[in-house]
């Protein structure tokens, strides 16, 4: 018996002109939690699909449990104990939890008729494996994302999984849900199940994984124990670039006050005071429900304060609507780029220009195409959106680059105060660093910037000071000199 459950050697895979895998190796020991990391588009999902038999490799071999396959079929992979938790979980939203859990097994055993009692028994067996409490008769579409994932996991266990591959399982989960997932992974490990955990978040890797393989551009660039890993190494191997997060704050210089908030209260927060100065990046942090989001909404005219005042550029103002906020030079970049603001099937150019249409059109509403093109080209270049052409639809971009387009759109309105809500959620390291650098540069040009985030590293890297909110109140303010990850974590 080999001690490796999986050993992939020299796998190549191309899709048309895209060489997605360029001879990668991947070895996983029995019983370990192995992390596969890499930036978006580096081939993580592709290698998973090769292992599970969905894609046939152009060359190379897959060895599972000591058995070699040049091209494995999906059913061979399942027989060998490989189960995938896909990014979309592969559940049936329109069916009950019970059916979702039992249907694969019933199908595998070639049953022709449905036996409800049998289904219920299978489903109960499945959820009990991970101690998952759920109403078996609920429709899956009515469940939160985390529960859908747990359904996928318990379903995988039913099929006698020996190797469970989770493709970016934490991207859509809240912190508590991630914690629960990790407990389950620990538990599975104890039961002797091997896990391949795909992620590009280092803190998760530290917490849960034993060893790690990093892919870059379809090649494996590093395999080692997690204990030999550190932040810098991780970022370097992921991106092939060296980052200096200290450096981006170098030219920080705060000027006059640009936005002052006095005794502001609204539904969700209470008696908030702060002063944002030109050239400053202010962080607002706190847990979900601490009032941080409401505060940003109030500053953009989306939530009506019932007390207190807002002073912009020395004048007391009443921000009654987003249009009014924009007039005052305030812009808000919303949290979820996918559902809030990007037109995915439309071109990058259109997405960038959507806030500028009035300005760049004649009085009759005819668009000035040249001006629009110039505008968008300028932004694509300025903030480094990685694309061949700004006429490409936004959905062809990676998450980080989509986020840059959202930023560009709001920057195009030339705001003096820029509020960003969780600006780099789901964005990988390289693009994250780019966005942080961009924010610092914007501040250096004399803008005031507010970053609402619960990403401790982000706050430390980019902010001059951080206000921590709890239950609608500011409970602490940490200034630049004292800012470090350990002390911030205490509060969040």
């Amino acid at each position: 018996m080999s001690e490796n459950i999986l050993s992939v050697k020299g796998v190549h895979k191309s899709f048309g002109g895209v060489h997605a895998l360029k001879g990668v190796d991947l070895t996983i020991k029995k019983g370990e939690v192995h992390c596969l990391a890499g930036e978006n588009g580096c081939g993580k999902s592709t290698i998973i699909k090769v292992i599970s038999g969905v894609h046939k490799p152009d060359s190379g071999e897959v060895e599972l449990n000591g058995k070699k396959y040049t091209s494995i079929t999906p059913s061979e992979a399942i027989e060998a104990g490989v189960q995938i938790i896909y990014q979309d979980f592969s559940v049936f939203p329109n069916l009950t939890v019970m059916e979702n859990l039992a249907i694969n097994k019933a199908l595998a055993s070639k049953k022709k008729f449905i036996n409800k009692k049998e289904f219920r028994r299978i489903a109960e067996e499945a959820v009990n494996k991970i101690n998952f409490k759920v109403d078996l008769d609920a429709l899956v579409e009515d469940l939160p994302v985390a529960d859908k994932q747990l359904i996928a996991i318990s379903r995988a266990l039913l099929a006698d999984a020996k190797l469970i591959i989770m493709d970016e399982p934490t991207t859509t989960l809240t912190k508590t849900e991630v914690k629960r997932l990790f407990e389950i992974i620990e538990d599975l490990k104890e039961q002797g199940v091997t896990i391949l955990f795909v992620s590009h978040k280092l803190d998760e890797v530290y917490e849960i994984c034993d060893s790690i393989t990093i892919f870059r551009n379809g090649e494996n660039v590093l395999s080692c124990q997690v204990s030999e890993m550190d932040d810098e190494k991780f970022a370097y191997y992921m991106t092939g670039r060296k980052f200096d997060s200290q450096n981006i704050k170098q030219n920080a210089k705060a000027g006059d006050s640009i936005l002052e908030v006095k005794n502001l209260s609204a539904p969700g927060f209470d008696n908030v005071n702060f002063n944002l100065r030109k050239g400053e990046v202010l962080g607002i942090s706190g847990q979900l429900g601490s009032g941080r989001t409401e505060l940003s909404l109030a500053l953009f005219g989306l939530l009506k304060p019932y007390e207190g005042s807002i002073v912009v550029d020395g004048k007391e103002v009443n921000i009654t609507s987003p249009a009014k906020a924009q007039e005052l030079g305030i812009a808000l970049v919303p949290e979820d780029r996918l559902t809030e603001g990007l037109f995915l099937s439309q071109s990058i150019k259109r997405n960038i220009n959507v806030t500028k249409l009035d300005e760049l059109s004649s009085k009759l509403g005819v668009m000035n195409i040249t001006a629009l093109t110039d505008e968008s080209k300028g932004w694509v270049k300025n903030i480094g959106v990685k694309t061949k052409d700004h006429e490409y639809p936004v959905q062809t971009l990676s998450g980080g680059n989509q986020q840059k387009v959202v930023l560009a759109r709001w920057l195009a309105t030339n705001p003096n105060v820029l509020i960003l809500n969780a600006p780099t959620v789901g964005v990988d390291i390289g693009a994250k660093h780019d966005i942080h650098t961009l924010l610092r540069n914007l501040a250096n040009e004399g803008r005031g910037i507010i970053v609402v985030s619960d990403d401790v590293k982000e706050l430390v890297d980019v902010c001059d000071r951080v206000m921590v909110m709890q239950q609608g109140k500011i409970i602490n303010e940490i200034a630049s000199g004292d800012l470090n990850a350990d002390m911030l974590s205490q509060y969040i």
């Binding site: 896909y86 979309d88 592969s90 559940v91 049936f92 939203p93 329109n94 069916l95 059916e99 249907i103 694969n104 019933a106 199908l107 595998a108 049953k111 022709k112 008729f113 449905i114 009515d142 939160p144 994302v145 809240t174 969700g268 979900l288 429900g289 989001t293 409401e294 909404l297 953009f300 989306l302 939530l303 609507s321 987003p322 249009a323 924009q326 808000l332 919303p334 949290e335 979820d336 559902t339 809030e340 603001g341 959507v354 806030t355």
Partner: protein
């Protein structure tokens, strides 16, 4: 236990079927109060009679929606297959069992349906476009190649059409109504379809494919075969509806069928079947069809002229759709708050305002 029953109660209270049922009751009571003629034996039998063919057609529309998407070809499949079955009897002078006539129509329906199924499953084309195309072709074959026109029915078929399961006479008005044998076919078909959809793996596969195609494929369902099967079977069901319609009317008229699809689809959607697939019940389908049938059949009892019926049908469709939209909206809200991300609602506002600007 108690909370479970209230939960169930709540669920049924908000279900679309329940709303349709309420509408039906209200409409029935309204007609009864205005005319005193709704709850009479002959009106009720008339209603059942008028429901038979639309309900069978509704199965075709329903199967299309839950597995794939809209199917608009069933009226012409019905027209073409019942034409060929009738011609078969006329030309051969066939005098045997009516079952054979149905089997001939079913065979034709299976072939026509399999054409839909083949194109949709193999090439993954949108079902609306494909069925629109094939139904135009079927219509061309029927009226062009076959030069079909009005036909009196041969005796075998007409006799079957005249047989009645139940005949009633309204003592007061002296009007009689009868329920044709085709009623049994309608009931039988619903029982079979119900059983297959709910108690066989193939039936659950139909819902699985309609719910999430990729998941179905990964689970090991043969997605293409299921789609092909659904449209083929739907062709057979349409053919049965076609023969039922023909024998009920005692003559064959090729132009009677086209246009039926809109009202049937409206009834199915009204009954809570989702346009995007995977969701819908036979109960809702029946209720939707019943509601539409009452509107077309019984409004006349309160002296509402025929052309106003269309107005009412349109209004009911819009109201019905509005109800389901509002419901899914509520569901959306409660789901979001369940995720304890109460803020997302306010953030949706940002999105909307951002788009307006």
């Amino acid at each position: 236990m108690n909370s479970l029953t209230t939960k169930k109660l709540k669920k049924s209270l908000v279900s679309t079927e329940f709303f349709v049922l309420v509408l039906i009751v209200l409409l029935a009571v309204f007609i009864e109060m205005q005319s005193g003629l709704f709850f009479t034996n002959n009106n009720l039998v008339d209603l059942l009679r008028s429901m038979i063919v639309p309900s069978i057609f509704a199965l075709c529309a329903y199967l299309g929606f839950i597995s794939t998407g809209p199917d608009v070809s069933f009226p012409l499949i019905a027209a073409l297959s019942s034409y060929i079955a009738t011609q078969f009897v006329v030309i051969t002078g066939f005098q045997g069992s009516i079952a054979i006539v149905f089997l001939v129509a079913i065979a034709v329906g299976l072939v026509l349906g399999s054409i839909n199924g083949f194109i949709i499953a193999k090439y993954n084309f949108p079902s609306l476009i494909v069925t629109l195309g094939t139904s135009t072709i079927f219509s061309g074959i029927l009226l062009g190649a076959f030069e079909a026109s009005r036909m009196e029915l041969p005796a075998t078929m007409a006799d079957f059409g005249r047989q009645s399961l139940l005949a009633v006479t309204n003592a007061k008005a002296g009007i009689g109504s009868s329920l044709p044998m085709t009623f049994l076919i309608f009931v039988g078909l619903y029982i079979i379809v119900y059983f297959v959809l709910n108690h066989t793996m193939a039936g659950r596969g139909v819902f699985a494919v309609g719910g999430d195609e990729t998941s179905a494929e990964r689970a090991g369902f043969n997605v293409k075969l299921i789609r092909f099967g659904v449209f083929t079977v739907s062709g057979a069901i349409a053919a049965i509806a076609g023969v039922c319609y023909t024998v009920e009317s005692l003559y064959y008229l090729p132009t009677e069928f086209a246009g039926e699809e809109m009202i049937v689809i409206a009834a199915v959607i009204l009954g809570g079947t989702r346009l995007m697939g995977g969701v819908g019940t036979l109960k809702g389908t029946i209720l939707g069809t019943l509601l539409i049938t009452i509107v077309t059949n019984s409004l006349i009892l309160v002296g509402i002229p025929v052309y106003w019926q269309k107005f009412f049908i349109g209004a009911i469709i819009i109201i019905g759709t509005a109800i389901s939209v509002i419901q899914s909206h509520n569901l959306f809200k409660s789901k979001k708050s369940k995720d304890s991300k109460g803020l997302q609602n306010s953030e949706v506002v940002i999105n909307e305002t951002a788009q307006k600007q």
